[in-house]
């Protein structure tokens, strides 16, 4: 079953296309990676999926709801490349706020917050304000927020950015755990090696055009690595 349906979307800034007639279907329970060089249109696509921007043409549906409908964001968790929130919040305050915004309250919320802090190994940051955290600690708080609530779709924009090697390893474990729980993960990333190990499907964007969309296994049948395939596709046109 397709959780995300992107049909012929285009988005331009002035005369330049950021995305041109892009269509994608993403199945439930898969780990999907959106790859592309800088300026390919990856972040624009994520913004369109979250209704942070409006398409010039085409449509995007999540869970059967058009993205202009707030119900499309029920069960969706999103973490931006650099997680930011108001600096006066503590780590547990952020997670409680995110939980309340997802309709969770009381003891259920408290237990989820404790569990998320433990899973990211940031229990000692529970009462520390964001203003007193390092970039990596902030990113961990952001990642803890995806564990709050019943999220069917998790959108991660450059999730490995700002994490140390241990953080990267832990994040990969979390992503695998979430997949085992039947969640769908949409990952926007540059780090091809990690994506090759983690993902079921990939799409490659360049200059606003979709150059490839298919399973990682199909990629590895054609080339030695995702890295080689990506390089050929981006420099040589459509695969």
């Amino acid at each position: 079953m397709d959780l995300i349906q992107i049909k012929d979307i285009s988005k331009s800034y002035g005369v330049e296309f950021s995305l041109e007639n892009v269509s994608l279907n993403i199945q439930q329970g898969k780990i999907f990676a959106l790859l592309g060089p800088n300026g390919a249109g990856k972040t624009t696509l994520v913004k369109l999926m979250l209704n942070l921007m409006h398409c010039d043409s085409g449509s995007i549906e999540i869970n059967g709801f058009n993205v202009s409908d707030k119900n499309s964001r029920l069960g969706v968790a999103f973490i931006a490349e650099k997680f930011t929130f108001f600096p006066f919040y503590t780590a547990s305050g952020v997670l409680e706020f995110f939980g309340k915004m997802k309709g969770i309250e009381g003891d259920e919320l408290k237990s989820q917050v404790v569990a998320a802090l433990e899973r990211l190994q940031i229990t000692e940051l529970a009462n520390r304000k964001l203003s007193r955290m390092s970039k990596g600690q902030m990113q961990r708080v952001g990642l803890a927020s995806i564990l709050i609530g019943k999220n069917d779709l998790i959108i991660l924009d450059e999730p490995f950015s700002g994490l140390d090697p241990i953080g990267i390893r832990e994040l990969k474990d979390i992503i695998r755990e979430l997949k085992e729980q039947g969640k769908t993960l949409f990952i926007n990333s540059h780090i091809l090696l990690e994506m090759e190990q983690l993902c079921d499907e990939v799409a490659i964007l360049n200059k606003g055009k979709l150059l490839f969309n298919g399973p990682v296994s199909a990629v590895l049948e054609k080339e030695k690595s995702l890295d080689d395939f990506f390089y050929k596709v981006v420099n040589g046109g459509r695969a």
């Binding site: 942070l52 921007m53 707030k70 964001r73 999103f78 929130f85 108001f86 006066f88 706020f97 915004m101």
Partner: protein, 269 residues
């Protein structure tokens, strides 16, 4: 109320309560009220009895009118900041990824800001009522003070909406300047046209008069609300046709709110 709404209103108040502007206004107001209280005690000790009750009510009314006179500035300053911190720090990305509509986001942010400004005014009114009552040794808060405050609440909300609308079209300083400039122009237009019959509106037409008529008809008549709140304190209701002013205020304010909400809905982040 939905838990989401409560969380967002509290979040709005928490982010604004740290504003240096609010802290400055809060401290300055507290000092001014305490100084007023000390001054009145000094005068009372010199005068003795006499028209104490009458003077007390008048003194409190005067104090409220002074507080009301800066209400426009307080509401405008917070109105232009409603969305600014969300946009500047990209916190808007996280916010709009929650299952809320942009219309909900818009109204809750504005209402949260309004609650904060109201909290400041409630604090100021209560503090001055208590201190002035202590100075006059009897309770001098009257229903007129309460009704004046209710009108002021609506006034503050509309000013916040107006400032918010301008903040969606330009930067903070520009929005603040335009809010002040247009409100001053509208106040001048209101003073000119609200007391003359309609058939005299178009007599002696000049470019200034055309501008005045534009502001009179196409800007929310917040001056009417401000004057109405003050006239309740003074116990002298103006001779204006209140329902006509209220109707105009409702229609034009609704139009401004509709435009501001539309701009938020259409904005690309």
């Amino acid at each position: 109320m939905k838990a989401q709404y409560k969380a967002m209103i509290l979040d709005t108040m928490l982010k604004e309560v740290r504003s240096k502007t609010l802290i400055f206004i809060f401290v300055a107001t507290t000092i001014a009220i305490i100084l007023g209280h000390v001054g009145i005690k000094l005068v009372m000790s010199q005068l003795g009895g006499g028209e104490v009750t009458f003077s007390g009510i008048n003194a409190l009314s005067l104090n409220f009118r002074i507080l009301n006179s800066i209400s426009f500035v307080v509401a405008a300053v917070f109105g232009v900041s409603v969305f600014r911190s969300d946009f500047q720090n990209n916190i808007i990305y996280q916010y709009l990824s929650f299952p809320i509509s942009r219309t909900e986001y818009f109204f809750i942010r504005v209402i949260g800001t309004w609650f904060l400004v109201l909290a400041y005014y409630i604090y100021s009114y209560v503090l001055s009522s208590v201190l002035f009552s202590m100075a006059f040794k009897k309770i001098i808060f009257t229903p007129a003070h309460f009704f004046s405050f209710l009108v002021l609440c609506l006034y503050l909300l509309i000013v916040i909406f107006i400032a918010t609308l301008f903040s969606l079209m330009m930067n903070k300083i520009g929005a603040l300047f335009i809010t002040f400039a247009t409100s001053l122009a509208a106040a001048a237009a209101f003073t000119t046209f609200s007391t003359i019959p309609y058939n005299e509106f178009f007599q002696n037409m000049s470019s200034l008069r055309i501008v005045g008529l534009f502001f009179y008809y196409f800007f929310p008549r917040i001056t009417f609300l401000g004057n109405f709140s003050s006239s309740l304190l003074a116990g002298e209701l103006s001779g204006l046709v209140i329902w006509e002013q209220c109707l105009h205020l409702s229609v034009i304010s609704a139009l401004y709110i509709f435009i501001a909400n539309y701009l938020v809905k259409r904005k690309n982040f």
